[in-house]
């Protein structure tokens, strides 16, 4: 498995706002093997969603990829014609969006919206498409699929709409599923159901999933590996257990420390002082340095992402420094 071509390889991808403008993503490297779930975590504005849109080729103008490679099963997506890329979207790679309330066309029935994908990517029509649509709704554990296939989105609850979104995403039998905060807009109980559903389908199909979230709990639950993003860069990447037990980058440690813990009775959550630098406001050095407790003069140059453990990389000149002793309290 590990020696095969990765499902998705993002190498040194940089996106800018207009040609020669400020960088939104800076030399981002991630890779995702087939059948693997990679979590991308970071706070708002860290570039998580931009990464997803870069892969799908859906960056909103004037933002554009200015360098690097994005390979899906070895094929460089950045060299494809618009037409070829369109044929891949929904078929080889599909995406689920954050807002199930607004991601469905309000004037089309559920069945029509699933049917569109079936027609484009699997040449299914009429009764066959309808039956497949019902099967897909069953697959996403939609109650009463025979009836709901004729429903309009406004007749469905948020959780049900997200199930429909997943059914639509699965309709083209994608090998890569990008889920951009799929549960952020849902109730906590529904969140767990949707995550479990994605996890089950991923296991059954051996699909690769790129899961974007700001919720570390979701990462712990769902992912094999995780990439931590900060200000448009990947600052740490590795297996979930390594990241949770031995976080190398001070930002990752800050993120982990700011989770509420039931065991600790403290009434104050720990926070990371300051905010993410705005686009175009980043200096030449480590973009986390202004907020970092252990920053020094050597942080004025941008640290590259380098190995700090087995399949564990971090972009910090002093990995692990100032880290508390690893405790066996993480899940």
């Amino acid at each position: 498995m590990s020696h095969a071509t990765p499902m998705l390889q993002v190498q040194q991808v940089t996106t800018t706002l207009g040609t020669g403008g400020p960088e939104i993503l800076s030399a981002v490297d991630i890779s995702l093997n087939s059948g693997e779930v990679l979590g991308v975590v970071g706070e708002s504005g860290s570039g998580k969603s931009m990464l997803a849109l870069s892969i799908m080729g859906l960056l909103p103008r004037p933002i554009a990829v200015s360098g690097g490679e994005i390979r899906l099963q070895g094929r460089n997506l950045l060299h494809l014609q618009a037409q070829e890329l369109r044929a891949l979207r929904g078929k080889d790679m599909a995406m689920i969006f954050q807002e199930p309330m607004t991601s469905l066309n309000p004037v089309m029935r559920v069945g029509q919206q699933i049917g569109e994908v079936l027609r484009w990517h699997r040449s299914m029509q009429g009764e066959a498409a309808r039956q497949e649509g019902i099967a897909l709704l069953k697959r996403v554990e939609m109650p009463d699929p025979q009836r709901q296939i004729d429903a309009y989105p406004h007749e469905l609850s948020g959780g049900m709409r997200q199930r429909v979104m997943i059914a639509i995403a699965l309709a083209g039998r994608p090998k890569l599923l990008i889920a951009d905060e799929p549960t952020t807009a849902l109730d906590v109980t529904i969140q767990a159901q949707i995550l479990e559903l994605i996890r089950n389908i991923q296991r059954d199909d051996g699909m690769s999933v790129l899961l974007i979230t700001h919720d570390l709990g979701v990462i712990a639950e769902m992912c094999d590996r995780v990439a931590v993003m900060y200000a448009g860069r990947v600052v740490e990447q590795g297996a979930v257990l390594d990241i949770f037990d031995r976080p190398a980058h001070p930002y990752t440690r800050g993120l982990l420390a700011s989770r509420p813990k039931i065991s600790a009775g403290a009434s104050w959550l720990s926070t990371i002082e300051g905010t993410v630098p705005a686009v175009g406001q980043m200096g030449a050095g480590c973009s986390f340095a202004p907020r970092c407790a252990i920053a020094g003069p050597d942080c004025a140059r941008r640290p590259p992402l380098r190995e700090v453990g087995v399949a564990h990389q971090a972009a910090c000149v002093r990995p692990f420094e100032g880290a508390p002793e690893p405790k066996a309290e993480t899940a």
């Binding site: 929904g90 607004t102 309000p106 004037v107 484009w120 309009y152 007749e155």
Partner: protein, 281 residues
Amino acid sequence: MTQRASFLRRLLSNRSFTIGASLVGLVLLLALLAGVIAPFDPLKGNFRARMMAPSLQHWMGTDQFGRDILSRVLHGARISLQIGFMVAIITALAGVLIGASSGYFRRLDGPLMRLMDAFMAFPSIILAIAVSSVLGASVINVIFALAIAATPHTARIVRASVMVVREMEFVEAARALGAGHARILFRHIMANAMAPLMVRITYVFAVAILNEAVLSFIGVGPPPPAPTFGAIIANGRDFIVAAPWITVAPGLAILVSVLGLNLLGDGLRDVLDPRMSVNTR
């Protein structure tokens, strides 16, 4: 299903829509049945019955050639409604084509909208007069002249609603599933941007009837003896004191048609876009 049913119910409980639809329906019915219910041939004169005031035989009187005004108005309704309808259809098609393209493809926006601005620089009736005089007077040319005059505003309206819907998330979702431009534009965007267009089109219909009358009145409308509302009025204006019925009857017909269409459009607007509604009864 339920959505459609409740939409109809809301339309039918809207007073302005029901009154407007009844008036339009009445005019439409009379126009369709003109051949059956008109008591006389609208084109055939009768020299023994010239300039007769309304009577039991000629309900709306006769003109200087002895032609029955009621028959002329009924047949005129046919032509006038046909012109209005064709103008509405052509304007809708052209407006969607131009408006949707410029709202969706940013590169086309500048050129197309500047062109529309150029058209809008003229008052639409002046534009229609100019086009009609250049093309020559015929029913088809009048239709084109009026459609050209109505298209720029319609394109503007379509463009505005396309630009709003274009940024909605389901459009991006459709794109992420591999939808092409045509599919996205017509199936996903236009389908959600129809409401303002429908309201606009009822208005275009009404204004086309009115403007056709204006064109006929100043002599660049459909050529005589075709009885359109405007042509009948134009014919009667020399006798407006001696035989006012010649102008009053078609004038009332215009009033009823345009009022009906406007009320219908108002009702549609109230139901389709409650936020834009002015009267809350």
